[in-house]
Symmetry: C2
Subunit: 261 residues, 2 copies
């Protein structure tokens, strides 16, 4: 896509995010319907569904040829990364949304033939957005965002999935101990915002494609390093233990990983 098309796409999605943040902040004042999915810790609300339906409806009009891969299943059963795919996570960090009414995000990413084109992550209560793509540049709200300082693991904060750390997914404990400190925020979007803006040197979690598509796209666009710490390479259609980090921290983690594999 050319600059005009990317610009148009960015403005369009930023408008959607405005609508969605207003909608969500209004719903927070009302009574929510909360259901569980795979376990009592895997929550979904009427708001997750309403926001995904908003996305699907608007994407169908804006980009009718594209496929949509969304957390709540209102999109398509995507079988291949060929062509254009919109990844949608309507409310990322639903437990924070339900319990805190804070510290949750909405995420959108566009990929073409498996490669990132554009992505958006918004901290909804702060109305704080990081957006952009490899051929467009990355912006923090209206300001150009530059690559974070290349900081080593021992000098920075790593953000980890709480569940993976607690249930001892291989390596998580070693990484937490090797970092200057670690944090657990309960939302991939909030965690990615920390890494993209240089507040943390890495984020690692086991995630599904809609959880990591936007973070990976923006991280690559900023020159951060992206990979997996399991035996499989990054696959935009399946779950993976996805790592986004500064270059130095990525290399530190790969060295530590050699000792545990």
């Amino acid at each position: 896509m050319d600059q005009t098309q990317l610009q148009k796409m960015d403005e369009t999605v930023l408008d959607w995010l405005d609508d969605i943040s207003h909608l969500v902040m209004k719903r927070v004042q009302q009574r929510m319907q909360i259901e569980t999915k795979s376990s009592h810790r895997d929550l979904v609300t009427n708001v997750d569904r309403e926001v995904e339906q908003y996305y699907v409806q608007h994407i169908r009009t804006f980009d009718p040829e594209a496929q949509i891969l969304g957390e709540e299943g209102f999109g398509d059963a995507v079988k291949s990364t060929e062509g254009r795919i919109w990844y949608v996570d309507p409310i990322d960090g639903t437990m924070n949304f339900v319990k805190q009414q804070d510290e949750f995000a909405t995420m959108v990413a566009v990929y073409e033939d498996g490669e990132p084109v554009m992505a958006w992550i918004m901290d909804i209560t702060k109305h704080d957005v990081v957006h952009g793509g490899p051929d467009f540049g990355v912006f923090h709200n209206d300001e150009p965002l530059h690559a974070p300082t290349d900081t080593a693991l021992k000098d920075g904060l790593i953000i980890l999935s709480g569940a993976r750390l607690l249930y001892e997914e291989k390596g998580f404990t070693e990484l937490a101990k090797s970092a200057l400190g670690y944090r657990v925020y309960g939302s991939a979007g909030i965690s990615y915002l920390h890494v993209l803006t240089g507040k943390a040197v890495a984020y690692l979690s086991r995630m599904r494609p809609w959880d990591f598509a936007a973070g990976v796209a923006l991280a690559k666009s900023l020159g951060l390093k992206v990979g997996t710490i399991d035996e499989h390479p990054l696959n935009m259609l399946v779950s993976g233990s996805v790592l986004v980090a500064t270059e130095k921290t990525f290399d530190d983690i790969k060295l530590i990983q050699k000792e545990w594999t």
Copy 2:
């Protein structure tokens, strides 16, 4: 102290917090001097020291009879809880302050003969303050704050000290697994704000008096439960594994604790 005196104290300290938040946000833009204390993870900056000096100077004028117990040592060598003591943590979450320029707090508490009188916790970047005392009521900025819903551990988020969880202080892993979820924020003040405003059902960490004095005072004032999970009762002059929780969660934790002791 009577209501007029409490009101005067509250207004005075809120004015100090205004000054301090402006000072700190200005210093964030400048080059900080960062030093380590007991370990490479125990940081102090010129800003921590400057803010504590501000507090000590203003407390000496406002309440010349009182003793001051401050993290950076500009106060007194307090030997007894008799009389009035001001507990001061100028920058709580110094690692977040240095690495994130976000998610840190400043905390002040006034105790008389070991009992809480008034306390203040401010999230500095959000300029968000919870303040009050047992005979004054608790306020979230200008609004009266009421006791959070009495939620059980299995239905709420627990906030834990990352280091205590990682280095397996007795019981921390069990508590994280028993809760609906856990979070690690790296600042006692930020963690207390979550519990006081009902975003989390408990906060547990091993802390020094200036880390827990304000949180304990405000929690007691709101009707939350406060105690330790180590063998020693809460002591306002020494470190302890201090727990602040809703009543149900406190009881849940005490039941779980029976199994590990």
